[in-house]
């Protein structure tokens, strides 16, 4: 469940900061949805692609944490009647969020490299 995120330091060395699998998936989702990432679309995307249930509570829990880590930024849309007069909150991946994704990808590649040829069956 847990992967590394490596934050840049001034001298180009990396420090390790953990983000969870859920956070990784969430970052990816927001990244892929480009400009249209808000609660409902994010949830739909995750439901469709992970084959797991994501409750609205779970979505916001993860979103809030990512926003706190400054991996996501958000902007409020206009209030809409179909949302009962509430606005949408659009999310965007920040620079450091992008870096975090890159690092996750890198670690994945390193950790999985060479294994793709071998069968992954359980013996």
């Amino acid at each position: 469940m847990i992967c590394f995120v490596i934050q840049k330091k001034s001298n180009k060395e990396y420090t390790v900061k953990w983000i969870s699998r859920k956070e990784e998936l969430m970052l990816l989702t927001v990244w892929r949805l480009k400009g249209n990432a808000y609660g409902v679309t994010i949830r739909d995307y995750l439901l469709k692609n992970t084959q797991k249930h994501w409750s609205i509570g779970a979505i916001y829990d993860v979103l809030d944490r990512l926003a706190q880590k400054r991996f996501l930024s958000s902007i409020d849309g206009d209030p809409l009647p179909e949302r009962g007069g509430r606005s949408k909150k659009y999310y965007r991946v920040t620079r450091s969020g992008f870096e975090a994704l890159r690092e996750v990808q890198h670690i994945h590649n390193v950790m999985w490299s060479g294994l793709s040829g071998i069968t992954l069956e359980y013996k």
Binding site: G39, V40, I56, Y60, D64, P79, E82, G85
Partner: protein
């Protein structure tokens, strides 16, 4: 947000345009409750959006069903998320609180230290009072046990009173006498030691609860040579264990068999003893006077009774009254009972102290709390900007109130923790200084701790409340623009609270000075006899005359005499007294003592009329009395010398009148006194030693004793030391009062310091301008100190009459006392003033010395 008016309107519009429904209100309410604030709008919006799309596609039922399932599934995440974010804010609050404490170290120190000291003080005093009140409460049914007193104010009662009462008053279930045995030397094999031995009736253990480790309380004291000993005595004499059935020797003479071992007598028992013997033993072997031990005339034992359930103090006193009226004893004698649990307070006259010190403790704690509130309010003015920013960023009023309350409670918590730590540290020192045995256990199982903690929390809430509501009510714009001025709000209140603190401090200083002056007066007062250069040796055996003669051989020993009851004071008195011309209805009671020839010479007691006892006049040793001046007044005769006096049916003549001397503590007036010669009864040998020769003379006395009484260790005491010991209690009280006075002053000064620095801070700009315009430093210091000096002077004016009244009451306890001079008040006032000025002028100096450039540049 959910109930805002524009939102309602929007909802209505939506309903008109769109036929699809809205999620049920209760669901929205629930979401509103659990979702954290910043997400609320969007979460509810998402729910709306999905709900509607499902409703459009699959109908109302399906959407409804989905909504509730989804809410249930989201609930744990929402709740944990909310808690997480709340905690993040609390973390911020704690961070800000700690930063504030560190930023204003002085303030924080004053705040916490004042509170801590106040709490420690209050706790110590409370523990002391609880300990004093716990005396004699450990007996089973202690509310049914009473001590019988006689109006003379002495603990002694007629020795046959207790049995007579038990016989005549059916309400009395058990009665026992309690009397010291003159003997105190106990031997077992080669072990010899002095013990505190008391003679009691066998019913003693029915009246009092002293738990037996072994032996049977019902029968333990039935035999005349039986003895009950305390645990530590048993361990000392019989380290092998089994003490029961073993023998102890009294005075190298009488064999006593141990029939019981009791637990050690607790320190909070008025009755303190190591060993108990049957009262019969005392009657048989330790009579001061042969025939009349069982008469009403001889008093020495205290009397205790235990009444049957349902009998109150009033009924008992009525019954005793009836008992007197029926003529069993003298009709006009006053007898009354006091509960055994009050005994300690009555005997040691400690009630006034308990009252006054509880008031003092309350005042000190009150002062500490007031200071805390005062300083918190003063401090909070600096935080208007922070509050403004918080409001701009979106803090609600509730958040701000919570923050300020929480912060002051946080300080209180630190204060409480420190207080208990300090208490633990100080308790042994306090115990040693005060001669007490207090333990932390006193605080358990009663309402002291909850009360104190509750009070501290209340203080914290009060201290936080003002900034919480006052500051949170400001318009952020006004505060941030700099229009905000912390107004004079509550400054009058703050000042009057400070005045109260100084009143308390000045009263305490007056009290301390008075107590120590009185103590000094008592110590140096001419008591009417020589205190110095006299040593008392406690006699064993009956070789007094030989011992005396032996001692007189040494030229450093100036004079030797003795008496049955020893100086510096005794309680013996008799009502079996008669003289020619005495009103037969007059119930006389005079103090008396049996002395040896030379008593007045040894102690340097002046003879005003007649002559002292003379060894060479035969009749002096049988029928001569020496009385004091008070006795002369008491008898009301014109010529006393040569008058007839009969004590214990022993007629005699008064041969001389002594100048009044103090044979009772100076708290009691001098009573009529008569001396009679009885060399056989001498128990305390008084030896006057030439000045500067004490070491060599003591050497000689010890040697002589060793030679004459090899079986007994010598036991002696110096009269001046014994005399001083009487006033130990007063000295301790004085120490306590001075300690309190110091603390009160300290706490008051903390308050003064805080308040003065606050004023100085508020007036920085004013001072800057004054300096620019050419004000001198002294004038600025004077400007800043003036109001505080006036406050202290007002406090003095209030404190003086209070102090005068209280100290007058206290001095009334003494028959011989100092006059309350004006000087005491002036000294107290000036010292308070000096301390206050010193405190204030520090701040004033700092303010006056700051460069005006610094203070004015921000304008």
């Amino acid at each position: 947000m959910l109930c805002g008016p524009d939102y309602q309107e929007l909802l209505l519009n939506i309903n008109k345009k769109d036929k699809t429904g809205n999620p049920p209100k209760i669901a929205l309410w629930l979401l509103n409750l659990v979702v954290q604030e910043s997400d609320r709008r969007f979460v509810i919006g998402d729910f709306f959006e999905i709900y509607r799309s499902i409703e459009k596609r699959e109908g109302f039922r399906k959407a409804y069903f989905w909504l509730w399932i989804e809410i249930l599934r989201s609930l744990p995440d929402f709740v944990s998320n909310t808690i997480y974010w709340r905690f993040a804010m609390v973390k911020n609050y704690i961070k800000i609180a700690v930063r504030n404490i560190l930023k204003q170290k002085g303030y924080s120190f004053i705040n916490i230290a004042g509170l801590t000291i106040g709490l420690v003080c209050c706790l110590l005093i409370t523990m002391w009072i609880l300990d004093e009140l716990s005396y004699d409460t450990f007996h089973d049914d202690s509310e049914l046990v009473f001590n019988i007193l006689v109006s003379e104010g002495s603990e002694g009662t007629p020795n046959i009173l207790a049995p007579a009462l038990a016989e005549q008053i059916p309400e009395i279930e058990y009665a026992t006498r309690y009397d010291w045995l003159n003997t105190s030397l106990v031997t077992s094999g080669s072990d010899t030691s002095f013990e505190r031995i008391t003679a009691v009736d066998p019913s003693f253990f029915d009246v009092f609860t002293f738990p037996f480790i072994s032996g049977d309380p019902k029968t333990a004291l039935n035999d005349i040579s039986s003895i009950v000993i305390a645990e530590d005595v048993a361990e000392r004499f019989f380290p092998d264990g089994n003490a029961i059935g073993q023998f102890l020797t009294f005075d190298n003479d009488k064999e006593m068999q141990v029939t019981g071992v009791i637990e050690n007598v607790p320190h909070n028992s008025t009755l303190q003893f190591d060993m108990l013997v049957p009262f019969e033993y005392k009657v048989q072997f330790h009579r001061e006077r042969d025939e009349d031990y069982a008469s009403w005339g001889w008093w020495s034992a205290s009397s205790y009774v235990k009444v049957r359930e349902g009998c109150t103090l009033e009924t008992l006193n009525d019954k005793i009254h009836d008992f007197l009226r029926n003529g069993a004893y003298k009709k006009d004698r006053d007898l009354w009972a006091i509960p055994v649990t009050d005994m300690h307070a009555v005997y040691s006259n400690i009630k006034t102290y308990i009252y006054s010190f509880s008031i003092v403790a309350a005042i000190v704690l009150f002062m500490a709390c007031i200071n805390f509130i005062n300083l918190s309010i003063a401090r909070s003015a600096n935080r208007a900007k922070e509050t403004g920013i918080r409001k701009v960023v979106g803090a609600s009023r509730v958040n701000l109130i919570g923050q300020f309350l929480g912060e002051s409670l946080f300080l209180i918590l630190i204060g409480l923790l420190l207080a208990f730590g300090l208490l633990d540290l100080l308790l042994p020192i306090f115990n040693e200084k005060m001669g007490l045995q207090l333990s932390m256990n006193l605080l358990l199982g009663n309402s002291v701790l909850p009360t104190l903690i509750g009070l501290s929390l209340l203080t914290g809430i009060l201290a936080g409340l003002y900034p919480a509501f006052y500051l949170s009510a400001f318009q952020p714009i006004a505060v941030l623009k700099g229009d905000f001025k912390s107004g004079p709000g509550g400054s009058r209140l703050r000042k009057s609270l400070l005045v109260i603190q100084f009143v308390a401090s000045v009263v305490l200083i007056i009290g301390t000075i008075t107590i120590f002056t009185q103590l000094d007066y008592i110590r140096s007062k001419d008591v009417g006899y020589y205190k110095d250069q006299v040593v008392h040796v406690y006699m064993e055996g009956d070789q007094y005359n030989n011992f005396r003669n032996e001692l007189l051989r040494n030229h450093n020993i100036l004079s030797v005499s003795g008496s049955a009851a020893g100086m510096p004071y005794w309680r013996w008195s008799t009502s079996s007294v008669d003289w020619t011309g005495k009103d037969p209805n007059f119930d006389a009671n005079v103090a008396m003592n049996m002395v040896d020839f030379g008593f007045t010479e040894t102690y340097g007691i002046e003879i005003l009329q007649g002559r002292p006892f003379d060894r060479n006049i035969v009749s002096d040793s049988v029928s001569a009395y020496l009385v004091n001046e008070e006795m002369v007044k008491y008898m009301g005769l014109e010529t006393v010398v040569g008058a007839e006096l009969t004590i214990w049916d022993n007629p005699g003549q008064i041969i001389g009148v002594m100048r009044n001397f103090h044979f009772r503590p100076l708290t009691s007036p001098i009573r009529p006194l008569a001396f009679v010669i009885n060399q056989e009864k001498v128990g305390t040998v008084a030896i006057r030693i030439a000045a500067g020769e004490i070491p060599s003379a003591m050497e000689y006395i010890k040697e002589t004793w060793q030679k004459m009484f090899p079986a007994f260790p010598i036991s002696y005491a110096f009269l001046d030391e014994q005399f001083d010991r009487q006033y130990n209690r007063i000295e301790r009280i004085g120490n306590l009062a001075s300690g309190f006075a110091l603390l009160a002053i300290f706490i008051a000064c903390l308050g003064l310091f805080g308040l003065s620095s606050f004023t100085a801070q508020q007036r920085t700009k004013e001072i800057g301008i004054r300096k620019v315009l050419g004000a001198s430093m002294i004038s600025i210091v004077r400007l800043l100190s003036k109001e505080f000096v006036i406050m202290v002077i007002i406090a003095n004016l209030i404190a003086w009459p209070i102090g005068w009244y209280l100290m007058k009451e206290w001095l009334n306890e003494f028959a011989y006392r100092i006059e309350l001079g004006f000087g005491i008040f002036v000294i107290a006032g000036i010292s308070a003033l000096v301390i206050a000025i010193a405190t204030v002028s520090y701040q004033a100096l700092v303010a006056a010395m700051t460069s005006p450039v610094k203070t004015l540049k921000s304008e």
